[in-house]
């Protein structure tokens, strides 16, 4: 049964549009605030060194085909040598950087600030939406949904016969939240603070970076087969030169 509910223009003027505008403005505000509050961390020399070693090892792995076999082996041994290879982390030391990072007050404070600057506006807006805009049908989703979604999407609406496509303003808020991420990435350029799911993924990977990545790079280097892609390079260079000189 597809009864066509016609929504009041007042709903459109006072709910849908203001909510969207408020969310866009809060996103922009959050972007600028996070920019202002960004403290420059003094970089730790040890961590940077390890990061650079990882990058070098990765480059070696990627470009292994372009250097002769002997050169590649020499470099590989330099990195993965058991006694003093750069990537070899003695077992007892492996856990330390991670623990140290989390107890380091500056870093913890930074992560806390980033978290807060993301969570607080969302919580406040959600509470505002709940308080003011509950109890009526706010919007209609353009595609048909099953009955399962009723409890999720129609929170304040107590009628059980209304089509599930008509949703409350809470779901309009969530729809805004997800849909405006794309818009923000367009108008704010890179690294806008609204992309919180990406941030969360980054943060969960942050603590493990130094200690585990060295081991991972070492394993990767051990695995690489040297595939010499420039076997007849001298002949080719000769042919190209001859062609150039003869023309």
């Amino acid at each position: 049964m597809a009864e066509e509910l016609v929504l009041d223009t007042a709903i459109r003027d006072w709910v849908l549009i203001p909510l969207s505008i408020v969310m866009v403005l809060i996103g922009i505000l959050r972007y600028f605030v996070s920019k202002l509050m960004r403290t420059t961390q003094s970089p730790d020399a040890k961590i940077i060194k390890e990061g650079q070693v990882v990058i070098r090892a990765r480059n070696l792995r990627a470009a292994a085909g372009f250097i002769p076999l002997k050169a590649f082996r020499v470099r590989k041994v330099y990195y993965t040598n058991e006694e003093n290879g750069l990537l070899h982390v003695p077992k007892g030391q492996a856990q330390n950087p991670q623990a140290q990072m989390f107890s380091d007050p500056n870093m913890a404070m930074d992560m806390m600030k980033k978290n807060l600057s993301m969570i607080i506006p969302q919580t406040l807006t959600f509470a505002w939406v709940n308080f003011f805009f509950s109890g009526f049908v706010a919007a209609k989703i353009p595609f048909p949904l099953t009955q399962r979604f009723r409890s999720m999407l129609q929170n304040g609406i107590d009628l059980s016969t209304v089509d599930v496509s008509y949703v409350s303003s809470r779901s309009w808020y969530f729809l805004n939240l997800f849909g405006l991420r794309g818009l923000f990435s367009l108008i704010l350029g890179e690294e806008n603070a609204t992309d919180d799911t990406q941030r969360m993924m980054q943060m969960s990977g942050f603590g493990f970076d130094p200690s585990k990545s060295l081991g991972a790079e070492k394993d990767g280097l051990d695995i690489v087969q040297h595939d010499w892609v420039l076997p007849k390079f001298e002949q080719r260079a000769q042919a190209v030169l001859r062609k150039r000189l003869s023309s």
Partner: protein, 115 residues
């Protein structure tokens, strides 16, 4: 929309194509921005025309196909000197754009619904 720094990425190797990672990444960014923008436009159009349900999805796929064709044409039809595989230019950003598209369809439909 596609900016002018989609410059060629191949190095001088004729047998093994290697790519400059930075340029490749910037090309991917351009593709992503284009797709997001087109999904917004497509969503607004679908909302204005009143397409709902499956029709709206079909319109989205159509808009994405048009975007892919235009990007391919902009790259001069030699994809391999700008991207490392066809999949990247055709399919990347499809799902992310879908969400944005759905959002704008809903927004426009509901705003025009009440009038």
């Amino acid at each position: 929309m596609a900016s002018h720094d989609e410059s060629g990425k191949k190095s001088n190797e004729n047998e093994v194509p290697t790519f400059n990672a930075e340029n490749l990444q910037s090309n991917m960014k351009v593709v992503y921005y284009c797709r997001t923008f087109m999904s917004i436009i497509g969503g607004v159009i679908a909302g204005i025309c009143g397409f709902t349900g499956l029709m709206g999805f079909v319109v989205y796929v159509l808009v994405m196909a048009i975007t892919s064709v235009c990007l391919t044409a902009r790259a001069g039809f030699s994809i391999h000197s700008y991207f490392d595989s066809w999949n990247r230019v055709l399919l990347d950003g499809f799902l992310g754009g879908l969400l944005v598209n759905v959002y704008f369809v809903c927004a426009v439909l509901d705003v025009s619904f009440c009038a």
